[in-house]
């Protein structure tokens, strides 16, 4: 258009940013469609251009740019709001994103078995099992933000089955080896030989003792994490309970820092979560991530809790504080910790870019950056914490699935 040159504000966006922006726009439009809105491609294009114009630094403007370009009816605002929160902030959508596919899967199987023969009704039991299996199976990839209340029961069970333990660390203490490897245990061999009159029948050997590293979990419980906090807390409970006699520490990060380790040392996840919730006063409040990580460093981390530990931060990285503070505290943390893992449920979203300032500031000090938004993703997280690329925990999950049948 003729007025374009003069009137379009320069956007300071490079080509790369622009393509990120386009992916973000397309991803968001797709989410709206999944939630039931009609969003023509032309609107998506306009939306991307609008984002380019208003930039991403103001949440309010990003919100209004989408409303002006993607919607055409006031009735759609409710859905838009929910999807917007989930996409840009991680707040619960309440929108069911997955259809009831499991039933179809079961019927498909029956048909392909019958192969040309007249349709036979499946045995009721078999169908039920198939449906249930697919339902649970389909949960694995589903974003926690889209969970229905019924699905949580299955989720708790699956998460509890992960039985996470941290990677091992060699200690100076050594233990006996039953096998023929390890260093020659001179002292024990001699002691054993005393019984046999000095004949060296048994060659005792010793192995260094491996001990799991301490695990520290820092869970963001601010408003923007609402839809994922439940699953992530459930995960921290699973870790705490499975390692209850060992060194696992859990802290909630909100407007303040709260230690919730003791609250989570209970078998029942519902009881544990309720206890943790009441311990955290500022549940779903604002976030002061950098500040609170600093508080953790001062009070706990530097005094030993984080030393040599696998530190796991579970947060979407939305921080109201100064990004510089976030960066310096993450640096302090990463210097004492063995490894820092960051779990961000938003990472799974299509076109995700770490645009939250806190997230961007923290990333340089993070060893592993994972999603943790679904059962599958938590399973991957368990492997990351254990620092094993093996499939130990997925086997666990599959056993649970089989047992549930």
């Amino acid at each position: 258009m003729a007025t374009k040159n003069r009137q379009n504000p320069a956007t300071n966006l490079g080509e790369e940013d622009r393509s990120t922006l386009e992916r973000v726009a397309v991803g968001f439009a797709r989410r709206l469609r999944t939630a039931g809105l009609v969003v023509p491609v032309s609107r998506t294009i306009t939306y991307a251009r609008a984002l380019d114009l208003v930039g991403l630094s103001s949440r309010e403007r990003v919100y209004w740019a989408g409303r002006a370009t993607l919607l055409g009816r006031r009735e759609d605002v409710g859905v838009y709001d929910r999807v917007f929160s989930a996409y840009w902030l991680g707040v619960s959508t309440g929108v069911q994103t997955d259809g009831p596919e499991p039933v179809l899967l079961a019927l498909d199987d029956v048909e392909s078995d019958a192969d040309g023969e007249p349709e036979v009704a499946p045995e009721p039991d078999k169908e039920m099992l198939a449906v249930h299996y697919s339902a649970v199976e389909s949960l694995r990839e589903k974003d926690f933000a889209a969970y229905s209340e019924e699905e949580w029961a299955d989720a708790y069970r699956l998460i509890a089955a992960l039985s996470v333990s941290a990677e091992l660390r060699r200690t100076r203490r050594q233990r006996r080896s039953r096998r023929r490897h390890g260093a020659f245990d001179f002292r024990r061999t001699v002691r054993l030989a005393m019984h046999t009159g000095g004949d060296l029948f048994v060659h005792a050997r010793k192995l260094p003792t491996d001990q799991p590293r301490p695990v520290v979990l820092l869970v963001d419980v601010s408003g923007s994490m609402e839809s994922h906090a439940r699953a992530l807390l459930c995960f921290t409970h699973a870790v705490t309970w499975a390692n209850r006699s060992r060194k696992v520490e859990v802290f909630a990060l909100g407007t303040r820092l709260t230690r919730i380790t003791l609250e989570l040392r209970t078998r029942d996840p519902n009881v544990a979560l309720a206890a943790a919730s009441s311990a955290v006063l500022d549940w779903s409040g604002g976030t002061r991530l950098g500040e609170n990580i600093g508080r953790f460093n001062d009070r706990w981390g530097m005094r030993g809790v984080a030393r040599g530990a696998v530190v796991v931060v579970l947060s979407d990285g939305w921080d109201r504080g100064d990004p510089a503070l976030m960066a310096s505290e993450m640096e302090r943390l990463s210097r004492v910790a063995h490894r820092v893992v960051w779990v961000n449920p938003l990472k799974a979203l299509e076109g995700f870019a770490p645009i939250a300032q806190g997230m961007a500031a923290a990333l340089p000090w993070v060893d592993d950056f994972v999603a943790g938004h679904s059962i599958d993703a938590l399973e991957h997280l368990a492997d990351v914490i254990a620092n094993s690329s093996g499939t130990k925990s997925s086997q666990k999950i599959n056993q649970t699935l089989l047992a549930s049948k």
């Binding site: 040159n5 003069r6 009137q7 609008a50 002006a68």
Partner: protein
């Protein structure tokens, strides 16, 4: 290129256009837009897309176009829609009377008979708002206000869609007009009927809500600067309470402004039951709504307003 010359022939704004610039310019013209409306107007200008504004009566939809014209210096071309509006009203018409006159004078003067080309030439063409918006001269683009589009019918919408798709108007007897610089287009709707999807897809969309209390106070302050501030707050509070009464036509900002102006004209610095009863007609236009308000209790309304508006 012809487009280039025209583009350089006017200098609409010195500043780079931003949402802030839009907000500030509107305030300068006594219009207070919230972040959502300001962003929508900004995008509509920057992306050259029509803006469809929906909302209850009196929330300031029409005013947006007026203020936009005043600010940008573009001519305001207003097309008030109604059922049955047609090409002759919306796009163009031939001036039959003058055509006839021309024919007669040509005959009387004994000159050669007027040709068809002569009759269907620019001088007999009457430009209605849509054509005027497309075929405008140099200078800032006009602001085309298509007001209350929900009152028109499907046929009109189809016609509008055609014009807004490529900003061209074809007059078969004459030529095809093409906008060199597209007009700024604002459509408003009260939602008595849904605007067709195809038309909506061409537009940016914004629903204007009733303003919140403080914003409404600020708007009235802008519009009736002489009114006593305490009175403005009380009236805004009373209007807010009236909007909760499920009225046939809940009062808009326009009514709040009228009411404050009426009470100020009565010399009031504070509302009281008697002056409310006297001026109720300036805020509730329907007898039924006035009755509803009276049944709910004007005394109670005044009490709430005095408390809230303090």
């Amino acid at each position: 290129m012809g487009m280039e010359t025209i583009e350089r022939s006017w200098e609409p704004m010195d500043e780079k256009l931003t949402v802030e610039v839009v907000s500030a310019a509107l305030v300068k013209h006594a219009y207070l837009a919230d972040e959502g409306l300001a962003t929508s107007i900004f995008l509509s200008m920057a992306l050259n897309k029509p803006l469809l504004l929906e909302g209850e009566a009196g929330v300031g939809k029409t005013e947006v176009a007026k203020v936009l014209a005043a600010w940008t210096g573009g001519k305001l071309l207003r097309l008030q829609c109604y059922e049955g509006i047609d090409v002759a009203q919306a796009i163009y018409e031939w001036d039959y009377a003058r055509q006839l006159l021309h024919l007669r004078t040509a005959e009387a003067s004994g000159a050669t008979a007027a040709t068809e080309d002569e009759l269907y030439s620019e001088r007999f063409l009457v430009r209605r708002p849509l054509l005027a918006a497309i075929d405008h001269g140099a200078g800032p683009p006009p602001v085309l206000l298509i007001d209350e589009v929900d009152r028109a019918d499907d046929e009109f919408e189809a016609m509008l869609l055609e014009v807004l798709s490529d900003y061209t108007v074809s007059v078969p007897e004459l030529t095809t007009f093409r906008a060199k610089v597209p007009p700024r287009v604002v459509l408003t709707s009260n939602r008595t009927r849904d605007v067709h999807d195809a038309l909506k897809r061409r537009c940016l969309y914004h629903w204007i809500d009733h303003p919140d209390f403080e914003r409404e106070v600020a708007i009235v302050g802008l519009r009736v600067p002489d009114a006593f501030p305490g009175l403005v707050r009380q009236v805004a509070a009373a209007v807010e309470a009236l909007r909760d009464l499920h009225l046939y036509k809940p009062p808009g900002v326009a009514e709040t402004i009228d009411w404050v102006a009426a009470l100020a004209a009565l010399g009031r610095r504070e509302i009281d039951e008697r002056s409310v009863a006297l001026s109720l007609g300036s805020v509730l236009k329907y007898q039924e709504d006035q009755a509803t308000a009276r049944n709910a209790g004007l005394g109670e309304l005044v009490r709430v307003a005095l408390q809230r508006g303090h």
